[in-house]
């Protein structure tokens, strides 16, 4: 499980002088569900195309189970791709689409028939073998594309935003389906998405990419609760940022002045000195909204409230203008719990629920810090 299946070392790629991947290092573990997450243009699709063999890196190497595959064309790589638009062959039936890869391997007819039938059963499309792709719905085409890729029993399955063309409900179903498939087949999945929710719910590990560089690599929980930098924190989920300045540093704790209030917090892993600017990050669900009469927290008033079914999301404007998003679960004792717009409140949080990040000066320096901070985490 923890064995490395595929490693990228120092991989760079430029298009028309624009750097898309910048000296990227990445180890993909055998059997894991790894998600490449990032905004459009972050290099995630290019990275996937490099793995598939559709692009050649300008520099760097790709090693699959000890074999250098950098110069191997796609047809010789033991991995398969599920394309974004499915790319089913329109002139072939579902059966022939799925059988294509096995026919290319010149497998015996009986074996092809059996394996195709199995693959179609896996995606619950046994009864559609004789149909043409255009006679199928989007979700069914998606399943055929998956069956076509897994029938070859690849070591690695690459999925390029495979769910982006589906509607919300179907996407949910397919997410669960894909997880099930991955478990049953034991194939390593490399999944590309720009949907952070999808990334968190499906993956064993997530790679957050921006400008061709790894911003953070970790489990969904690490990415969400302990983001390595401001970009990851902003990109994954909603975050409240409180600017703070260190007023005191001890071996185990620091004291931070935030909007004139002073709080003593756990000392972060990055180096700290007195006078340094830091960001105190709090997820909306970690915010505590208190009575205005309470003696601590920041004074503010509710400017927006959103009923979300299981939670009540409110936007609170502090006295200094900063807007804070708070997400509170409904209390069983108080089912009618709600705020008036303009209602005065105080905002605070439970000690230890915050996450601290240093002020970011320069992209390059930050990245170095991140890698240093990241090293112990990935061994965990």
């Amino acid at each position: 499980m923890q064995q490395t299946l595929l490693s990228l070392r120092n991989v760079s790629k430029q298009f028309d002088g624009k750097t898309v991947l910048d000296a990227l290092d990445l180890d993909i573990r055998d059997g894991e569900f790894l998600t490449l997450l990032g905004p459009s243009g972050c290099g995630k699709t290019t990275l996937l195309r490099l793995l598939g063999g559709f692009e050649h890196p300008d520099s760097g190497t790709l090693t699959l189970s000890g074999q250098d595959i950098t110069d191997l064309p796609p047809e010789q790589r033991p991995l398969n791709t599920v394309f974004q638009q499915y790319a089913l062959f329109p002139h072939m039936t579902v059966f022939d689409n799925v059988a294509y890869g096995l026919k290319m391997e010149k497998r015996p007819r009986d074996e092809i028939r059996q394996r195709v039938t199995e693959a179609l059963a896996l995606v619950q499309l046994e009864d559609f073998a004789g149909r043409k792709p255009h006679q199928l719905s989007g979700g069914q085409q998606q399943r055929v594309a998956i069956a076509r890729a897994v029938v070859k029993r690849p070591k690695l399955l690459l999925l390029d935003e495979p769910l982006s063309a589906l509607d919300y409900k179907l996407r949910r179903t397919m997410q669960i389906e894909l997880k099930r498939l991955q478990r049953e087949l034991g194939i390593t999945f490399v999944f590309v998405t720009h949907d952070q929710e999808e990334a968190l719910s499906m993956s064993d590990r997530v790679v957050v990419l921006k400008d061709g560089r790894v911003q953070h690599l970790g489990t969904p929980r690490e990415i969400y609760e302990r983001p390595a930098n401001l970009f990851t924190a902003r990109f994954v989920g909603e975050t409240n940022f409180f600017p703070g300045r260190l007023t005191e540093v001890t071996d185990t704790s620091i004291t931070v002045a935030i909007f004139g209030l002073s709080r003593t917090l756990r000392r972060p892993t990055f180096p700290v000195t007195v006078g340094q600017e830091v960001h105190v990050l709090l997820r909306p669900e970690d915010i505590r909204v208190l009575e205005p009469s309470d003696d601590h927290g920041f004074v503010g008033h509710v400017i927006e409230r959103n009923y979300k079914g299981s939670t009540l999301d409110s936007l609170i404007r502090l006295e200094n203008g900063l807007e804070i998003l708070a997400s509170e679960f409904f209390d069983e004792d108080d089912p009618t719990f709600d705020y008036r717009l303009g209602e005065p409140v105080r905002v605070s949080w439970v000690d230890g629920w915050e996450w601290l990040l240093p002020e970011e000066r320069d992209e390059a320096e930050v990245l170095n810090d991140d890698i240093n901070a990241e090293a112990p985490a990935s061994d965990a």
């Binding site: 598939g52 063999g53 559709f54 064309p73 796609p74 047809e75 010789q76 398969n80 791709t81 394309f83 974004q84 638009q85 790319a87 089913l88 062959f89 329109p90 002139h91 294509y100 890869g101 290319m104 391997e105 043409k132 792709p133 255009h134 006679q135 076509r148 890729a149 070859k152």
Partner: protein, 286 residues
């Protein structure tokens, strides 16, 4: 809702299109079919009784030979156009949009000159002391002029020259629709270049091939002036037979029967083309 606003315009367009088709397509073709079952009359060109004798005469060895030779030249022309046009159209579809527009423009420019004029120009090039022979003599590649004009080769060169754009354009359109992802998917599934070409590219471009063949093969059999100007008396096309029946022999029914034969062949190819389209399903339909 907005349909009612456009009703007058809609009606006008429909009347125009249907009128055009009835008067200029359906009526003349019916006249030709009608003529083909009448009897030749020296005074009024046509007379009763109705007869199928004109069709029977078509299988006369003399005409059969002309037909087969004509079919042979047209087939060679088609193959040449396909061999040149297929890679050309493929390459064209991979170029940038700007380059594509320019090349298609260049492809269409010759249409601005009458094809008869262009055929005469070709005659000047191919003549015994024409540009090609003089050029080859000048650089010493040949010692005496080649006989290019009034040969089968000259007719085929002329036909390929005139008809090549009709092969390239439908092929270009299917290559434009051929998504890159399908080729990538094929490679991804373990197919190299050649298997991908055979199993993916060829089947998906087949409708374009058939459309091109349709637009080249039958016109090639009918372009009588190419055979007249470049082919001499021995390399006749079906078009020449039809023309001479109408204008020289004044045998309208027989000429009409030959026309109907050509049209029927066209209909057959169109049918084959439709079938191949349907095989690809709606997705490939243009």
């Amino acid at each position: 809702m907005h349909n009612s606003h456009r009703q007058p315009f809609r009606t006008a367009v429909l009347v125009l299109v249907w009128g055009w088709l009835l008067v200029l397509v359906l009526a003349p073709n019916l006249l030709v079919v009608g003529t083909s079952v009448l009897t030749r009359d020296p005074l009024s060109f046509l007379s009763l009784p109705l007869t199928l004798e004109n069709y029977a005469r078509l299988i006369d060895p003399l005409y059969l030979e002309v037909f087969l030779h004509s079919l042979y030249m047209a087939a060679v022309t088609t193959v040449c156009c396909l061999v040149i046009g297929y890679p050309f159209a493929w390459a064209l579809s991979r170029l940038s949009k700007r380059q594509q527009t320019l090349l298609i423009f260049l492809l269409i420019v010759p249409f601005w000159t009458n094809s008869l004029v262009r055929t005469y120009a070709l005659k000047l090039l191919l003549a015994t002391n024409g540009l090609i022979n003089n050029g080859l003599l000048a650089i010493g590649l040949i010692d005496e002029p080649l006989t290019l004009l009034y040969t089968e080769l000259a007719v085929i060169i002329g036909l390929v020259y005139l008809l090549l754009p009709f092969m390239i354009l439908p092929l270009y359109s299917v290559f434009e629709d051929l998504r890159d992802e399908l080729l990538l998917a094929s490679h991804d599934l373990g197919a190299g270049r050649w298997p991908t070409f055979i199993h993916v590219v060829v089947p998906l471009t087949l409708p374009g091939v058939l459309a091109g063949v349709l637009l080249v093969l039958l016109p090639a059999m009918g372009l009588f002036f190419v055979a007249d100007i470049l082919g001499g008396s021995r390399n006749l096309l079906v078009g020449n037979v039809i023309k001479s029946q109408f204008l020289d022999a004044r045998d309208w029914p027989f000429g009409a029967a030959a026309s109907v034969l050509l049209t029927a062949a066209m209909a057959l190819l169109l049918f084959a083309h439709r079938l191949s389209r349907r095989r690809l399903g709606e997705e490939a339909e243009v």
